[in-house]
Assembly symmetry: C2
Homo-oligomer: 348 residues x 2
DNA sequence: GTGAAAGCGCTAACAC
DNA sequence: GTGTTAGCGCTTTCAC
């Protein structure tokens, strides 16, 4: 029985119901609810009082449709189980919430096809902006260029965009690697190896540069055989460690690309060179809380500001959303957030 | 200049544009796009061809509004950084995606006020259903009852609802605790302690019951002083461990409520009873991947099927969404997913 | 097999 | 300070 009170209750109270009960027009009610200055205090109060009494809940779907704005941000990260991204997501969400926005959080699982589909869904749902940490093997930026072309701004985080048309927020990987390496140099090491990330990622390159820079700063010659690429799998790290430890002169310290690489490398030593596990010293990117519980851990970690990265990305995105899409002459920004060196005490 | 081709491009191609170009009505185009049987194959093809050519992207916001359905699920978990919930979220998302649904993932951070606000946002956004792991201290179910009252189904996961009106999916905590305890009994232990979770949580109670059940099964008397509640903080675990270890006869094995409690308990031993750290044996809930890297780890873990929990919750939710809201005589379901005992090998 | 038209709930000119 | 009205893009009856 459409039109009955029953149906209306089920459907939810609308602005029209309020208008009718108050003998006003819907526009007056709408304005009152939106604190329009042209509405008298009395009217405004009457409207709000009745709205509360009737348990009026605005239908955002209708607003979104009408305003052609979804008040929703799309966020694409490789994996929610990687705390680096989970924390960044928190930064995005907090900033979004402050701006009255929702976030649709999605994972690409490093699958480009999945990423393409996600972008499609976001377009269909008319998100107002997208923050993305692109899949590691992507070579083109096609779906993201599509977003820009239809007026949806995009901000990249963590992983550098493959073309220059995007805002980009990341850690200062170069300086972080310098800090990690210089810390080991300060501890007296001279044969310092580098377990470098995948060569295709700019992040790997930046950290590699920082590593070399630190060596140069201290007059230590760079040796090619002391840098090994890993593919971020346990097997890959084991293979790399094997090559390093079988050198005529193995390293006495190692700068690693990432948390999990460090842990796998230490496991490798535990298994094959147990006598060296307390000798070879590590520093590396990432500071997992779990490190506290480990007996064999890196000497120090490079803590990245991933929460702040998410915040900054969202801030930039909101600026872009606020901009008039007309002026095509934009300057794309690239911000590098500082890293922090955290020394792990051995006692407690 | 509204109405120009420029504006149209910016605005996006609509069903109307397609209709005009093809000299058809919008209803025909709509039906063709939605594979309505009443449309001829030829028409359907022409419409789809032009849609593709014009790069038509349906405006979901308009559909949602028209259909009074958002094709969106709300998910509320305490913390995304807790992998237990992150994995459950993945289960929800995968199932949602299969059904063409989006998920709005939110975190309560164990704050009831925040949770209230989240539910409000979800109502405003007209989500079609909600999956929630309620904050641990909540005593009422008020916001969730409100959801039900306006026809939005709710499924609880992991944490038991405080009233009987909700579907609920969780691990079989009782049987898991039995397994954990019997495993230690099988290793010859007789003085087995239990680091129990917060007394207010039904999960804690269920695990506690399982622990007692296992003891009873093997004719081991339950001793009150061997069970200590923890509040899930490191300090709380340390205090509980202190009481246990200062007993005239300290336990030789301990069943813990959760991963992090185990790790903190082991840390306590490392610090204050280093000679016992390899003697006192642990089993407990949760199987973090990071456990592999630890030197001192539990003998075995009770792995919960949290991914499956998310899947199952989403499945139930979709059933409810499909139901006609009319029949008030619902039977609310409570499913307990089995746990798995995982023994940690010492080698590799 | 196709078209005309109403309307979902809301906002924003514009008129008064 | 308030009301009238058009319309966002789409689906869906109901006619033909």
């Amino acid at each position: 029985m459409p039109g009955t009170i029953q149906a209306a209750m089920k459907r939810g109270v609308t602005i029209k119901d309020i208008a009718k009960k108050l003998n006003m027009s819907v526009s007056t009610v709408s304005k009152a609810l939106n604190n329009d200055v042209s509405i008298s205090a009395l009217t405004s109060e009457r409207v709000k009082a009745l709205a509360k009494q009737l348990n009026y809940i605005p239908n955002e779907a209708a607003r979104h449709f009408k305003l052609a704005k979804s008040f929703t941000l799309g966020l694409i990260i490789p994996d929610i189980l990687d705390q680096y991204y989970a924390v960044a997501a928190n930064g995005v969400e907090e900033t979004a919430e402050k701006n009255g926005y929702n976030v649709i959080l999605t994972q690409s699982h490093e699958d480009e096809q999945k990423e393409d589909r996600i972008v499609d869904v976001m377009i269909r749902n008319r998100v107002d902006g997208v923050i993305v940490s692109i899949t590691k093997n992507r070579t083109d930026m096609q779906p993201f260029e599509k977003l820009l072309s239809i007026g949806i701004p995009v901000v990249c985080i963590g992983r550098e965009p493959k073309s220059g048309q995007f805002d980009y927020v990341s850690s200062n990987n170069h300086d972080g690697a310098v800090m990690a390496t210089e810390f080991l140099i300060g501890k007296g090491h001279r044969r310092i190896a580098h377990l470098m990330g995948p060569a295709g990622m700019r992040t790997s390159q930046a950290r590699f540069e920082g590593y070399k820079q630190a060596l140069a700063n201290h007059g230590i010659p760079f040796r090619n055989e002391l840098t090994e690429c890993v593919d971020l799998t346990r097997a890959g790290t084991f293979a790399a460690m094997q090559r390093l430890m079988r050198l005529p002169e193995p390293p006495t310290a190692i700068v690693t690309f990432k948390n999990y690489v460090t842990l796998d490398a230490i496991d490798y030593l535990k298994k094959y060179y147990p006598e060296l596990v307390d000798k070879v010293q590590f520093t590396g990117f990432g500071n997992l809380p779990i490190l506290h519980h480990l007996d064999h851990k890196p000497l120090a970690s490079i803590e990245e500001s991933s929460f702040e990265m998410g915040e900054e990305a969202a801030r930039i995105l909101f600026e872009r959303i606020g901009e008039d899409g007309e002026n095509t002459e934009r300057v794309y920004r690239s911000s590098q957030l500082p890293c922090r060196l955290v020394v792990h005490d051995d006692g407690e």
